[in-house]
Subunit: 310 residues, 2 copies
C-alpha cells in the first residue's frame, strides 16, 4: 500500500474468501468483519458474489452484519467533465438494512409470489437522525424525504412520520416530502433544486444511480456506509465490472473519492483536501481520462496523474 | 363537446361523483365504469381522490375494477421544444394491477410495518404479451424488462421468467433485462438506447415520470390503459394539479395526445395524424406555449392554436 498524501494510516488487509466461512454463511470472512468492527473504519473494494451457489450477497451480508444503517452518497457535478448537467450538488442518504431488501419472499400458491417490504420505526428514525445530523454538520439547508406514501401508506407512511419527528428537532433545516416519481422527474429537469435526500432502501438504490448518471456515471460517485457503534465503511457505488476486470481500464475516481470521505470521517481534512483537489484538477485538465469518460487512459496512468497532482 | 377533426364519435359523459357510490366503494360511479365496459374505450380526465376520508383512490379503483392491466406511456422528444435531450423515443409499459400497489399492508408489532408486493404469473404474462405485441405492431425492435431480481429474486424473478417465456415467441424482437438502478442511470445518460420497456407497477410509475422529465414534463406525456376484454382507457399521466385548477393555465397537450392514442386504437388514423401534427406544429412554432413550458399562453389560446392547425 503506497501513501502519497502523507496520511498516517496503518492498513489491515482482508480479502473476500474463496470458501464460504460458516460463521458468516458467506464468502466474507469473519476476520474481515471483526477488523471493521474493531477499527470502526474501512475502505472496501467492489465485491462480486459468486453466483449460482445460493449464498448470501456479500454486500447485503456486510450491511446486515455491521448494521450499516445509512448509505451516504454525495453527487456533485465535476467542473471540467461536461455532462448535460452542471449544477448537481446533492447527497442521497439511503436506509440500508430493511425495506424491499428484507430478503423475505415466498410463493403463496403456484404462480403467486410475494415479497415483504419491512419498515421499522427504529431504522427509520436512525437514518433520519443521520440525515439531519449530516445536513447540519455539512452546512446543508434542506432535507427531502422521498417516499410513495400515497400508495404505501403504512410503510412509507411510518418512514415519513419518523422523518417528521426528527425534523422537529432541526428547525434550522428545511424539511420537505417528495413522492418518488415526482422526485425522479425533478431530478432530470432541475437537479439543482435538491440538497440532502433521505429515503428507504430501494428508492435510494434507484435514485443514487440516477444521480450518478447526471454527473457522468458510477466511475465518479463515492459512498460511505455509517454503521452501529460509529462504523464508517467507505466504498465506491459501482460494482466489480467483471467485463473490464484485470484490464487496467477501470476508473478509480469513485474509490479515491470514497477514500476521501473516509479521511474526512477520520478528521484528516488537510490530506482529504489535497487528494480531492488533485482528483478534481486531473479531471478538469482532461489530459488523462479513463474510457468510461470517453478517454483513453489506463487506470494506472490516470492514477499516476492524480498522484502527481498531490 | 366540439369536434374539429371530424371524428365520428358520440360521447357519453360521466362525472366523478361527490358522494361515495356503495357499489364501487369510491367516488367513481357505477355508471361510469359500466360505460367504459360497454364502449370498451374512453378518455379520462385527471381525478383527485378527496383526501382524509379513507376512501379508495379513484385511479386505483379504476385500474382494479376495469382490469386495466397494461399502462402504455410513449415518451418522445418534441422537435421544437428543447430540453437537455433530443433523442428520446421510447415507450414504457407498466403492469398496472399488482406489485407494490396491492394495498396489502399491516403493522406486525408496534413500530414494525410491512407491505406486500405481489407478483403473479398471470398478470406478468399478460403485460409481457402486451409489450411484445405492441413492439411488433408498432415496428419497434427491442423490449427491455426492468427489474431488481438480484434482490427480489422470487417476485421480480417470476416477472422476468414470464417475460422470457413471451420473448421466445417473438424471435424478431430483441429481448434484454436491465436492473432498475442501472436503467435509470442509462436513461439519464443515453435515453436513445431504449425502445420498449416493460416492468412491474412501481418501477413503471417511477420510470415513466423520469422519462417525462427528459422531454419536458408531465404536460406532454399521454398514456393509455389496456384492460380486460380489449378496453382502452386513455388518460394524461399527470394528476389534477389543484394549484392551477380553474385558472386556464394547464397544458392540455398530454390529454390531447392521449386522445390521439385513443383514436389510433379506434383506427381513426387519419384524424389521429391530423391532430397529432397540429400539436407538433403548434409546439414547434413556439408562439403559443403554456407556463409549464416557459410560455405565457392560456390553456384556451394554446388549444385554439392547435385547432387552427387542424
Ligand atoms: C449490488 C446491489 C446488491 C446493490 C444494491 O442493490 O444495493 C447496488 O446496486 C448498490 O446500489 O449498492
Ligand atoms: C396518482 C398515483 C396514484 C399514480 C400512481 O402512483 O400510479 C400516478 O403517479 C401515476 O403514475 O399514474
Amino acid at each position: 500500500v503506497f501513501n502519497v498524501a502523507g496520511v498516517p494510516i496503518e492498513w489491515e488487509e482482508h480479502y473476500v474468501g474463496t470458501e464460504v466461512d460458516p460463521r458468516t454463511e458467506s464468502f466474507l470472512t469473519w476476520e474481515s468483519l471483526e477488523s471493521v468492527r474493531r477499527n470502526k473504519v474501512g475502505l472496501k473494494g467492489p465485491m462480486a458474489t459468486p453466483i449460482g451457489k445460493g449464498h448470501r450477497s456479500l454486500n447485503l451480508t456486510l450491511r446486515k452484519e455491521l448494521g450499516l444503517y445509512a448509505n451516504v452518497r454525495p453527487c456533485n457535478s465535476l467542473p471540467g467533465y461536461k455532462t448535460r448537467y452542471d449544477d448537481v450538488n446533492l447527497v442521497t442518504i439511503r436506509e440500508n438494512t430493511e425495506g424491499e431488501y428484507s430478503g423475505l419472499e415466498h410463493q403463496v400458491v403456484r404462480g403467486v409470489v410475494e415479497s415483504l417490504k419491512i419498515i421499522t420505526r427504529q431504522a427509520s428514525l436512525r437514518v433520519a437522525e443521520y440525515a439531519f445530523h449530516y445536513a447540519k454538520a455539512n452546512g446543508r439547508e434542506r432535507v427531502s424525504a422521498i417516499h410513495k406514501a400515497n400508495i404505501m401508506r403504512k410503510t412509507d407512511g411510518l418512514f415519513l412520520k419518523c422523518c417528521r419527528e426528527v425534523a422537529e428537532k432541526y428547525p434550522e433545516i428545511t424539511y420537505e416530502e417528495v413522492i418518488i416519481d415526482n422526485c425522479c422527474m425533478t431530478l432530470v429537469k432541475n437537479p439543482g433544486t435538491f440538497d440532502v435526500l433521505v429515503m428507504p432502501n430501494l428508492y435510494g438504490d434507484i435514485i443514487s444511480d440516477l444521480c450518478a448518471g447526471l454527473i457522468g456515471g458510477l466511475g465518479l460517485t463515492p459512498s460511505c456506509n455509517i454503521g452501529e457503534g460509529g462504523i464508517c465503511l467507505a466504498e465506491a457505488v459501482h460494482g466489480s465490472a467483471p467485463d473490464i476486470s484485470g484490464k487496467n481500464l477501470a476508473n478509480p475516481t469513485a474509490l479515491m473519492l470514497s477514500a476521501v470521505m473516509m479521511l474526512r470521517h477520520l478528521q484528516f481534512n488537510d490530506q482529504a483536501d489535497r487528494i480531492h483537489n488533485a482528483i478534481l484538477q486531473t479531471i478538469a485538465e482532461g489530459k488523462y481520462r479513463t474510457a468510461d469518460l470517453g478517454g483513453k487512459s489506463s487506470t494506472s496512468d490516470y492514477t499516476k496523474a492524480v498522484c502527481d497532482h498531490i
